[in-house]
């Protein structure tokens, strides 16, 4: 591969970078709040809800993300086709069909799969953070007459945030790399395109260039998190 070819490949990968980034960003946007809700469900005082939450986390963390991506991608078409072939076209079938025919169907199923998977990991990180807050903090707040809401938002949450930053950074870095799993359903992101270019040029160099893309993204993520970590450095 000459310099011109390298430039060409780089530009092609750049063109598909937004796809990788949107999968990354949408996953974060959904998985973090869902993770918080899962943490809350896991800590709520209702046994059946706790069990269901445990089961959810067990499945999400216990099976490969790649399988989950494939399953979410093909589930709706399969439900629809089996319903249609048995003559059922009412109920939610038209709704499912409309999702399926949506031009963003692929990214939607990807984000659903990724967000549900990452939410399970985030939930466990957040739970660890909450459980690390000493009981004395709650008791001190209670003695000062603070309400449960005040205690959570003013005392617990800021301290949990500080504690979960390193583990969250880890998870986000893994997510940057995991976006490449989307190529399993032929989503046009960087890894998928790099593989195509590899075959086209019969060279491993496109994969190397893709690797640089991930490396730079993660360097930025790392810098962002160490900046945030420093912001919380004013206390121990």
């Amino acid at each position: 591969m000459d310099f011109e070819a390298i430039k060409k490949v780089t530009l092609i990968l750049l063109e598909y970078l937004p796809n990788t980034l949107s999968l990354f960003i949408w996953t974060l946007v959904f998985s973090i709040p869902i993770g918080m809700i899962v943490t809350w469900l896991k800590k709520c005082r209702c046994r059946p809800v706790n069990w269901l939450t445990d089961l959810y986390i067990l499945i999400m963390r216990g099976t490969p993300l790649m399988l989950q991506i494939i399953a979410f991608h093909y589930a709706i078409p399969m439900i629809v086709s089996s319903a249609v072939s048995s003559g059922k076209t009412g109920g939610i079938i038209p709704f499912l069909q409309s999702i399926m025919n949506n031009e963003h169907y692929m990214i939607i199923t990807l984000v659903v799969a990724f967000a549900l998977n990452y939410a399970a990991y985030f939930a466990e990180i957040f739970r660890g953070g909450i459980e690390a807050i000493p009981k004395g903090q709650y008791e001190a707040a209670q003695m000062l007459g603070m309400t449960k809401m005040q205690t959570f938002f003013r005392i617990v949450l800021p301290q949990v945030t500080k504690r979960v930053i390193p583990a969250t950074a880890n998870e986000v870095i893994v997510l940057v790399k995991d976006t490449s799993l989307a190529n399993v359903i032929a989503f046009a992101e960087i890894t998928m395109k790099a593989k195509q270019q590899m075959n086209f040029y019969s060279s491993i160099l496109p994969l190397f260039i893709a690797g640089i893309f991930y490396f730079v993204m993660n360097a930025l993520v790392t810098m962002l998190f160490s900046f945030i970590e420093k912001k919380f450095d004013y206390y121990k």
Binding site: P134, Q137, A140, Q142, M143, R154, P158, Y235, K236
Partner: protein
């Protein structure tokens, strides 16, 4: 007037009876010291009075408000609003301070006045400055708890409790987490509060201090109050055999001083 009335309180953790038929009163302006061996239930008693633990039966009145009484052998707590009103009348200083680490000293002290009592920030800050000065911490207002010594942290936590102007202040072994050379500064602060006629209940292992500052001493053992009275009575003219043994250990094996 009794600011705190505790009548026949009992409390179990599972099968373990930790408090058995505890009764005592605290009068306005009085300093009560609670002493006794480890595991005798001193902390649990304080925690029951402070609503951090629920008693199984008995009666507690604080500042003329009924917090808990017993019907058919079961504890009945007052409604939420009363419990909250009671809570704001009393302060508790913890053994390990429990300051909020993400707040500066000043924020720790004004947190409750501003967000619970809804005072203006200016008003709360002015009062906090006064309290910090009294604690000898006026230069530390902007520091964070992790930058302070244990003794300083404990003084902040006393200021934080005082910021709500409680009618009675409880201490659970306020010096036990401190290096010996730092206990003096906390005992001095408590002594000053006693001179200002602050009503206080202090669980302590500092016998000389209890003897010096308290008007009333309660000795607990195995969940019972086995002896109580003035410091002269309890330390000088000890009646109970358990108390005698306990005090002897604290006096380095010598019989308690008359």
């Amino acid at each position: 007037m009794a600011i705190l009335e505790v009548k026949h309180i009992s409390k179990k953790f599972g099968d373990l009876e930790v408090l058995k038929d505890i009764s005592f009163n605290v009068e306005v302006g009085e300093v009560v010291a609670i002493i006794g061996p480890s595991g005798s239930g001193k902390s649990t008693l304080l925690r029951c009075v402070n609503q951090l633990e629920r008693a199984d039966s008995g009666e507690i009145n604080v500042c003329g408000m009924n917090m808990l009484h017993t019907e058919d052998g079961k504890a009945q707590y007052a409604d939420k609003k009363t419990l909250r009103d009671i809570r704001l009348k009393i302060g508790l200083v913890f053994q390990n301070f429990n300051l909020f680490p993400h707040f500066s000293v000043m924020q720790n002290v004004i947190e409750a006045p501003v967000h619970v009592l809804k005072q203006s920030k200016a008003e709360a800050t002015a009062k906090a400055q006064e309290l910090l000065k009294k604690m000898g911490l006026e230069a530390k207002a902007k520091s964070y708890p992790c930058e302070l010594s244990g003794g300083q942290q404990q003084r902040v936590s006393i200021a934080r409790a005082l910021a709500l102007s409680p009618d009675v202040l409880f201490f659970d072994e306020p010096t036990s987490a401190l290096d010996p050379e730092l206990t003096g500064e906390i005992l001095k602060v408590i002594k000053e509060l006693a001179q200002e006629k602050m009503t206080m209940v202090i669980v302590t292992h500092e016998m000389a201090f209890a003897r010096d500052v308290a008007n009333h001493v309660i000795f607990m053992d195995q969940g019972y109050i086995v002896e109580e009275g003035t410091p002269e009575e309890v330390f000088g003219n000890t009646q109970n055999e358990r108390t005698k043994q306990f005090l002897q250990r604290y006096n380095g094996g010598e019989p308690p001083l008359a």
